[in-house]
């Protein structure tokens, strides 16, 4: 069964460093998303991406964040200068079309020290 894959599963980085979280969405899907979950809190929407551009973004997704689909298979989330409060679980998701089931990856646990 096709699945969304995320790498790495856990990343530790120093404050101020840049990190890139990687995702491979399901191959025939057209919509891609990033969500995050701070420990013990709700899952929060960050950004959606369609047709090589951002469709919608939340207030959390400020200038420190960027997304890219560098090739036909990968979808990345970059955090330019990490802060302690960026420590969270980051989930990538994809869906075939809008307003349908979104399939989630296993997540990347980012720890900023």
């Amino acid at each position: 069964e096709p699945e969304v894959t995320q790498t790495p599963s856990h990343q530790v980085t120093q404050m101020g460093q840049e990190v890139i979280l990687r995702c491979v969405p399901i191959s025939n899907h057209l919509y891609f998303y990033w969500y995050r979950q701070i420990l013990g809190q709700k899952v929060e929407f960050l950004v959606s991406f369609y047709n090589n551009e951002i469709s919608e973004k939340s207030e959390i997704f400020d200038d420190q964040f960027s997304v890219e689909r560098p090739d036909g298979s990968n979808f990345t989330l970059k955090i330019r200068s990490t802060k302690l409060e960026d420590s969270a679980m980051y989930f990538c998701a994809s869906s075939p079309i809008m307003n349908t089931e979104a399939f989630f990856g296993q997540g990347t646990r980012l720890t900023v020290v």
């Binding site: 969500y35 979950q37 307003n99 349908t100 089931e101 989630f104 296993q106 646990r109």
Partner: protein, 110 residues
Amino acid sequence: GIQVEQSPPDLILQEGANSTLRCNFSDSVNNLQWFHQNPWGQLINLFYIPSGTKQNGRLSATTVATERYSLLYISSSQTTDSGVYFCAVEGWDSNYQLIWGAGTKLIIKP
């Protein structure tokens, strides 16, 4: 924006018991999904159920869209069912994003 409330927040049961988890939402939705987050933090898709009833093994779900609620039923609970169960919805005015409830933390004791 749309609000999502889940109840109960915590539930402790003995193995073999049945449980019902509830998700209320404040407006019409065009997408509703149930997820299980395991102790390692991974999200597992359970159901895509904007309306109607679905069953998958010991789990089933029902969404009554006109009354703005969804129920997740777990029968004959097993210890591996432990974790947090999330309901997430996409409202008609919140395209492209799922709005998540706070979750129900389920603990199944052997």
